[in-house]
């Protein structure tokens, strides 16, 4: 047989996958490895989709999505961030932000174009850049900075081949949010070097210490930004596969071509659920955010008590603590914690080399589970500590 596509062949499978296969076969596992809300979609949203199915909304919709949904998205973004998108030409309803990202990269990149992306990063970014013919150019962020993305480090990575900067704040996996000033500095770099900005803002509603800054709302950003967002995290709608991409018309026209020849449209009933979410979902969002915030405080305090240093995550529903005191690599830590204490976390190196030394813990699970998980982690850390002491004693004293 002839060989498969060499880009795909060269891309390693997701590091999360291997872990999932192990955890799935064990009993009594408390999982902090889940990157989605534990809430079920609010009932009024589910009910709206059921009603849509009863009315027979089972056909394709227009490629760009239901006009009513695009209008609701435009109104929503304007209300929250003051940004304006024409629902007739500048908004595409996509099958998850994943599709929106793929469309954006394929529409923007020529072979060999570089895309700057901060690491640790969501597992899909670098592979999607490669699949679209681009070259990922990674900028490291560090635990000591709380994984803040330093604009000057982006500047260092810009080359004549650079086409775009990919941003994701609040961040999966670190939970980091970026200050408005930092984001403005990054936008200014994009303006100065004529780069596109692709901003995945799927966690925009889940911020706890300061309000979210929409990249497209910043000075000079709108005309070069592809804004990606959706319903999965804010409204607990991951399985509905509905999201949206907003950009200036030439970009959305290119993206829409790919979309109409590949996905055609997002699921029809799910789009009606999304309409209901935007029009009547605000109270549910607030209640969920409040609950996440309580768990966040509870969990981060607990991690620190257990001996895992953790920067305060200002958004999303992840803590990304350092595991330095365990003396283990992030894969060893995750594997031993799973086998010894039946707690599943995701090793930080699944999100790129700069995630090494950390693990991602999702606190999108009930406080009771979090409390039990913390007790198990504390026990595990105690054993790591004892093991390290024993090793120290065995080692001969330096001469």
């Amino acid at each position: 047989m002839k060989p498969l596509n060499h880009v795909v062949a060269a891309t390693p499978p997701s590091g999360i996958r291997r872990f999932f296969d192990i955890a799935q076969q064990m009993e009594g596992v408390i999982s902090l490895g889940v990157g989605e809300p534990d809430f079920v979609t609010p009932w009024h949203i589910r009910e709206a989709a059921i009603y849509a199915i009863e009315r027979g909304c089972t056909s394709y919709t227009s490629n760009a999505g239901l006009p009513r949904l695009r209008e609701a998205i435009a109104a929503h973004l304007h209300r929250l961030y003051g940004v304006q998108y024409d629902p007739g030409a500048e908004i595409i309803v996509t099958v998850g932000v994943s599709e929106g990202l793929d469309l954006a990269l394929r529409a923007l990149l020529n072979p060999g174009d570089e895309v700057i992306l901060p690491e640790p990063a969501y597992v899909s970014y670098a592979p999607c850049v490669s699949f679209a013919g681009g070259v990922p150019a990674v900028v490291r962020t560090r635990g000591v900075d709380g994984f803040r993305l330093r604009p000057e480090e982006i500047a260092d990575r810009i080359t004549p081949r650079t086409k775009a900067i990919l941003l994701c704040f609040p961040s999966n996996p670190t939970g980091t949010i970026q200050s408005q000033q930092d984001l403005q500095d990054i936008v200014d770099l994009a303006v100065a070097n004529d780069l596109y900005l692709v901003s995945d803002e799927i966690y925009d509603r889940l911020t706890y210490v300061e309000a979210h800054t929409c990249v497209a709302s910043l000075r000079g950003a709108w005309e070069r930004t592809v804004l990606l967002n959706g319903f999965s995290k804010a409204y607990a709608m991951t399985g509905w596969r509905v999201a949206y991409a907003c950009a200036p018309r030439p970009v959305t026209e290119a993206m829409l071509k790919i979309h109409q020849y590949s996905l055609l449209c997002a699921p029809h009933a799910a789009q009606w659920a999304a309409v209901e979410a935007l029009e009547n979902g605000e109270a549910a969002v607030r209640a969920m955010v409040e609950e996440y915030d309580r768990r966040r405080r509870f969990f981060v305090r607990g991690l620190c008590r257990a001996g895992l240093d953790c920067h305060e995550p200002g958004g999303a529903f992840y803590a990304f603590p350092s595991i330095a005191r365990s003396g283990l690599s992030s894969e060893q830590f995750a594997e031993q914690l799973l086998f010894q204490e039946r707690v599943a976390v995701v090793p930080g190196n699944a999100f790129g080399i700069s995630g090494e030394g950390h693990v991602r813990c999702s606190y999108a699970t009930g406080v009771g589970h979090l409390e039990e998980a913390l007790a198990r982690i504390a026990r595990f850390m105690e054993r790591c500590h004892q093991g390290a002491l024993a090793r120290d004693r065995r080692e001969p004293a330096p001469a």
Binding site: F19, F20, V34, R297, F298, A344
Partner: protein
Amino acid sequence: MRAILEILERDARTSPERIADMLGLDAAAVRSQIEEWERTGVIRRSKTVVDWERYGDERVSAFIDVSVTPERGSGFDDIAARIYRFPEVRSVFLVSGGFDLRVIVEGRSIKEVANFVAEKLAPLDRVTSTNTHFLLKTYKEDGDIFAEADTDHRLLVAP
């Protein structure tokens, strides 16, 4: 501080330490706030939500619509008090609409509840009529859904 009450209302056994962690407060401050609320009656008492049917208990509840003649001076309050003092009576509400008081009565058998209505409630002065609805099945009570179990459909590890 309101958030403390919200947490306790959902689970009264949440420890002050846990509440403090959830809200970014000091455990001693949470404890003294709870004590103050207990003193001032903001927190009336704590109870456990029990699914008695699942436990295996045979219990009978009935919702009774009671029409009464209100009294000059006290309106419905006196007759309501005469009804709510019976231990068989779980709840009494004054409501608008086609009748006046909605009374919830609990007993060990249909006969016991029926006897209570016939011998205690209906003969009261100023009670002009009663309409008894026996409870057949509880789907949801005080915000708790009894009819279905919570299931987590998520995969254990996801990006």
